[in-house]
């Protein structure tokens, strides 16, 4: 059984390595996460100059809002790239993994062997988990180096651990979307729907569910900082219902606290628990897929 699991994981990694489109997506993700620190640094430097001009003109006596910002502040834009590029990359990887077998009609051959569905799908998921882990490890290493160069000092142990904590949260979120992609690839009758349905689920989780509880506009939800729910009216109740379901907002909250964003405070534990809960649930769902379902042919 373990052999099948490892073989599936290995085959999945090999397939990703061979797929050109996967390379494009991984490169876009890595590139954006890498430049996010530089964008953050350029912006912070410019805003500090703007503040200094205002101060020199005697227009304000307020302190510089960026005085004492932690080094990890420069990594805050990575949060949004995980949700935008990372999640869509994960969906594509997940959907391609399960679609590949259906398109090449190799599922019947695989299932003619003493192979259990949970082992097969679990192996594929493990393979994708290793791919995503590797991508995140590289992006965090680049982030670490970029921030160290910007701040002219290597990041300390605490900051490094926080960066690793952020990477762990990102891995959990991306694995959830990978599973959503895999399920799309398994249950859809057409290749178009296999990608479209997970994308719709992603947009629902990223925009619609948080909007219900926070009244935030969709574009405002593309900010790296989680949106606070307004009080009064129906929002107290709606926020209580939708907050645990807004996994991207939970990820943003945990990430903002871990990266010491001055606009967010609290303990990231509750958000991390939500992410773990969703990941476990999604893993159980994918391993419970009926054997017969894997054999279903694509209509287009």
């Amino acid at each position: 059984m373990m052999n099948v699991f490892f073989a599936s994981a290995q085959q999945e990694m090999l397939s990703v390595r061979r797929a050109r489109i996967a390379h494009v997506l991984l490169a876009v993700f890595l590139g954006m996460v890498s430049v996010s620190s530089i964008i953050g640094w350029v912006t912070t430097t410019t805003v500090t100059s703007v503040y200094e001009k205002i101060l020199a003109g005697g227009l304000t006596a307020a302190p510089n809002p960026f005085t004492g910002v932690p080094a990890l502040y420069y990594a805050r834009n990575s949060v949004i790239y995980v949700i935008l590029i990372g999640a869509l990359m994960a969906i594509v990887l997940g959907a391609q993994a399960t679609l590949r077998d259906r398109k090449s009609a190799t599922t019947s051959l695989i299932l003619s062997r003493p192979v259990g569905t949970p082992v097969r799908l679990g192996g594929q998921l493990a393979g994708l988990g290793i791919v995503i882990f590797t991508v995140l490890a590289i992006s965090m290493a680049i982030n670490w180096a970029a921030i160290s160069v910007i701040t002219r000092a290597p990041l300390g142990t605490d900051a490094t651990l926080r960066l690793l904590g952020f990477a762990a949260c990102a891995w959990m979120l991306l694995m959830i979307f990978t599973i959503i992609g895999m399920l799309g690839g398994i249950f859809s009758k057409r290749e178009t729907t296999a990608l479209l349905v997970p994308f719709v689920v992603w947009s629902g989780l990223t925009f619609v569910v948080p909007q219900l509880g926070t009244a935030a506009r969709p574009v405002a939800l593309l900010n790296p900082v989680p949106i606070l729910a307004p009080t009064g009216g129906p929002f107290d109740l709606l926020a209580a219902i939708t907050a645990p379901l807004s996994i991207t907002e939970q990820f943003k909250r945990a990430a903002s606290i871990l990266l010491q964003d001055p606009n967010v405070s609290g303990n990231p534990l509750s958000s991390v628990i939500v992410l773990i809960g969703f990941l476990l649930l999604a893993t159980i769902v994918v391993t419970l897929v009926p054997r017969q379902k894997l054999r279903s042919a694509l209509n287009d």
Binding site: T46, V225, N263
Partner: protein, 323 residues
């Protein structure tokens, strides 16, 4: 021309029976209505908070009362416009891809190409058919949104407002046709169908989400909750004076934003609907004069996208190795 119309008509009929299309459009309509409802609820919550504050002031014997929050009905459509920007473009890509993919998968493409059809019949017919479908969708969305603003939002819509909505609907249509035509062209060019879809999705990701997000991130006023200048209590005239000294940085930031067609559509629709404070209450000719460059670029981009789809969709590209 007959070939082109036949393909367009068939596309129109196909989509009318397509469950995926129905799901996609229902989802887009639902989120638009939800955003109107959420916006209206948020306004009511603000009004309640204001009334409580005024009551507290009266109880404390303070005579100065701040201005009450004012409902501008068309501003309730902001969420719907943003959904169309993001999800509408995504769905337009998927439909554009699907229209080429289905012919390849079903084998009907070979049959079609075995007939003496004109060079642009396939791409032209497909894009024309989808454009007609998008016109219907835009009309439906505009009608539902208007009804929602009146019924759910409790706002009064005037004749001028209907004119603003009609102009915005035209730009919505151009925006959706742009993405659909681009997807048709990219899918035809790609040897593997899934590659065509994924490349189109990467373009969508870059131009709809990532580039505008970078532009927003670089905006000095977006660095502090509530705005940097508000936090520092800087007057608007002083703000403009200070920012003028950072014209280079602002030029790059604005350049990034305007490189995205989404921002052109957003600026146009926000101006005509009065969502952008600067244009709220301005007459349509005044807004039109200010927005003309964006209207031109959006129109030119859409025409370019349609031409690209026609040029990219040849017998040779369509008959390349299939996935």
């Amino acid at each position: 021309m007959t070939d082109l119309f036949t393909v367009a008509r068939k596309e129109f009929l196909d989509l009318r029976r397509d469950r995926l299309f129905l799901i996609v459009i229902s989802f887009l309509t639902a989120v638009t209505l939800v955003s109107v409802a959420v916006g209206a609820a948020d306004f009511r919550a603000q009004l309640e908070a204001y009334n409580r504050y005024v009551a507290d002031l009266a109880a404390a014997g303070t005579g100065v009362v701040p201005a009450a929050p004012q409902l501008f009905p068309l501003q309730l459509l902001r969420g719907g416009i943003e959904y169309l920007e993001i999800l509408g473009a995504l769905f337009a890509i998927v439909l554009g891809y699907g229209t080429v993919a289905k012919e390849k998968h079903r084998g009907t493409l070979q049959l079609f190409l075995s007939r003496p059809v004109s060079r642009f019949a396939f791409a032209g017919g497909k894009v024309a058919g989808l454009s007609a479908v998008w016109l219907g969708v835009v009309l439906l969305l505009t009608a539902f949104s208007t009804i929602a603003v009146i019924t759910i939002g409790g706002g009064a819509v005037t004749g001028v407002d209907l004119g603003r909505l009609a102009i915005t609907a035209c730009f919505m249509w151009l925006y959706l046709v742009f993405w659909t035509a681009l997807a048709v062209g990219l899918t035809s060019l790609a040897a593997r169908l899934s590659t065509g879809l994924i490349v189109a999705l990467v373009v969508w990701l870059a131009f709809v989400l990532v580039i505008p997000q970078i532009g927003d991130t670089m905006d000095p006023d977006n660095q502090v909750p509530g705005g940097l200048f508000a936090a520092l209590q800087i007057k608007k005239s002083d703000e403009l004076g200070v920012l003028a000294q950072f014209a280079g940085f602002d030029g790059i930031r604005n350049g990034l934003e305007v490189s995205s067609i989404t921002k052109h559509f957003e600026r146009l629709s926000f101006a005509f609907l009065g969502i952008k404070a600067q244009y709220n209450g301005q007459s349509i000719p005044v807004v039109w004069a200010a927005m003309l460059p964006y209207a031109i670029t959006l129109t030119v981009a859409t025409i370019a996208s349609v031409i690209f789809s026609a040029v990219a969709t040849t017998r040779r590209t369509l008959q390349r190795k299939q996935s």
